[in-house]
Symmetry: C2
């Protein structure tokens, strides 16, 4: 049983936030109590759910570095059952501040300890790096969901990510496992996408989620309205696919 | 006259590496002596030019943290006149190691000092963050080229980037200026792209480069062959546009 899932990949722009927001929202719409933690100083998951990061007084930074209980940072969203710990302006300075801190890799795990059992699933959106914010997420998580864009550079970075996961598993979090790999922005008309998808499936037998997320402009429009795809355009291809992806993530989490 | 240009944007996947590699290669093909420094632990600029990052003995890490003279890290590429300082495996640990270092923000500027005048232009590819690797690039640079994907999340991050540039300008590098903003992955058929492009042009009057880079699959295929677009498919739309972009970058750099 995996209750905490980090959505991670140091390659930029592969669909981490889009996946974290839409999987969290789809499960919440289906009645699951979900917590989404925004560990990225860009605060895209926060704004993608209608929260203005500039006006966040208690967010991820305050929870990690000022000892604010995580429940104080909980924010409701437009989606019933979906709670967010938003990223505020100070999170940009956290990486450097964390370096000198005692137990610097385990701060998020400790903060979540008191509250995680109140939720059916906790998702953590990670920044595009393997620094201390992502490490905190990997130490707090029991499983990792890895979005991979069907592009060459994205494929190249996977071994670096798996090495980092291995180091966290051997050091601070022996339970950490790869919950699944999600192919994103898949355009079946290009050879490149077909080749990358094929290589990923061969390399990760059994761990690649059944559905690849196609490129769908409604997915990139939804954040400008502060809404997940299910509320912005529930009948779009993006909404349908993320509903399927969300179900599979939950099945894998429950069965792990 | 701007001789050192950082290609920066903390938003992931906006086309920083694609721009750095193809602008550098296009100018080099035209006879300009160009140096490209890979400051990203993902080492995409290195592999995009045919260098295997795992086999790099002296690269950006060794130059910054082990005092190796930057000229020792120079690597030739398939493009005449284009020299690369590649990223090796150790660069992933640099951000944390830099925190405790004396003069930690100025290490790249110092390393480049001895060699920068041997080149007509120096380009620096930055990682998707505003940490110490990007700060080193911003302190070493005289101008910043900012690729912006025509998407909502990419637009949102611009003010965070401009604030960081301002802090570097007020602190360590008063000469730093925005050389230009490049609209990338522009798909004129979507409203979102048109809206974002319009907002960027209004916000950055005069600093948005004339050509927007359209989405072009040949651009994403080229890196898997370790070649810039000009050598992979010189007649593609991607090659034509990046040749125009490169020219404009050089004109702006010379005129600045
Ligand atoms: N399937 C899709 N179809 C169309 N656009 C998409 C899709 N998935 C994501 N996008 C858009 O692509 C961009 C990158 O996605 P996103 O921001 O979710 O990636 P990320 O991995 O979180 O990026 P970062 O590394 O900066 O955190 C965003 O503008 C998003 O709206
Ligand atoms: N104009 C374009 N048309 C099609 N694909 C593109 C274009 N520009 C970039 N790409 C592809 O999009 C992906 C993201 O681009 P790139 O890696 O250059 O962005 P980046 O900003 O350097 O990412 P990161 O933040 O991870 O460093 C890559 O797979 C690249 O090949
Ligand atoms: Mg993100
Ligand atoms: Mg890059």
């Amino acid at each position: 049983m995996v209750r905490v899932v980090a959505v991670a990949n140091q390659k930029g722009g592969v669909g981490k936030t889009t996946t974290a927001v839409n999987v969290a929202a789809s499960l919440a719409q289906g009645g699951e109590r979900v917590l989404l933690v925004d560990m990225d100083p860009q605060a895209n998951a926060s704004s993608g759910l209608g929260i203005d990061p500039r006006r966040v007084a208690s967010g991820t930074y305050e929870v990690l570095l000022e000892g604010v209980p995580i429940a104080h940072a909980f924010r409701r969203t437009a989606v019933p059952n979906l709670t967010v710990v938003p990223a505020g302006p100070d999170l940009a300075g956290a990486e450097i501040e964390l370096v000198g801190r005692e137990g610097r890799e385990t701060l998020l795990r400790q903060a979540l300890e008191a509250e995680k059992d109140r939720f059916g699933l906790v998702l953590i959106d990670c920044p595009p790096s393997l620094g201390l914010l992502t490490v905190n997420a990997l130490v707090a998580a029991e499983g990792v969901l890895i979005p991979i864009q069907c592009e060459y550079y994205a494929l190249e970075g996977v071994s670096q990510l798996l090495n980092a996961l291995q180091r966290v598993k051997q050091g601070l979090n022996p339970e950490l496992m790869v919950l699944g790999i999600l192919l994103t922005m898949f355009d079946g008309r290009t050879n490149l996408a077909l080749q990358v998808a094929d290589q990923v499936k061969r390399a990760f037998r059994g761990r690649v989620l059944r559905h690849a997320v196609p490129r769908n402009v409604r997915l990139s429009e939804a954040p400008s309205h502060g809404l997940p795809i299910g509320l912005y355009d529930g009948r779009s291809r993006g909404a349908e696919i993320y509903a399927e992806v969300a179900k599979e993530v939950l099945v894998r989490a429950r069965g792990a």
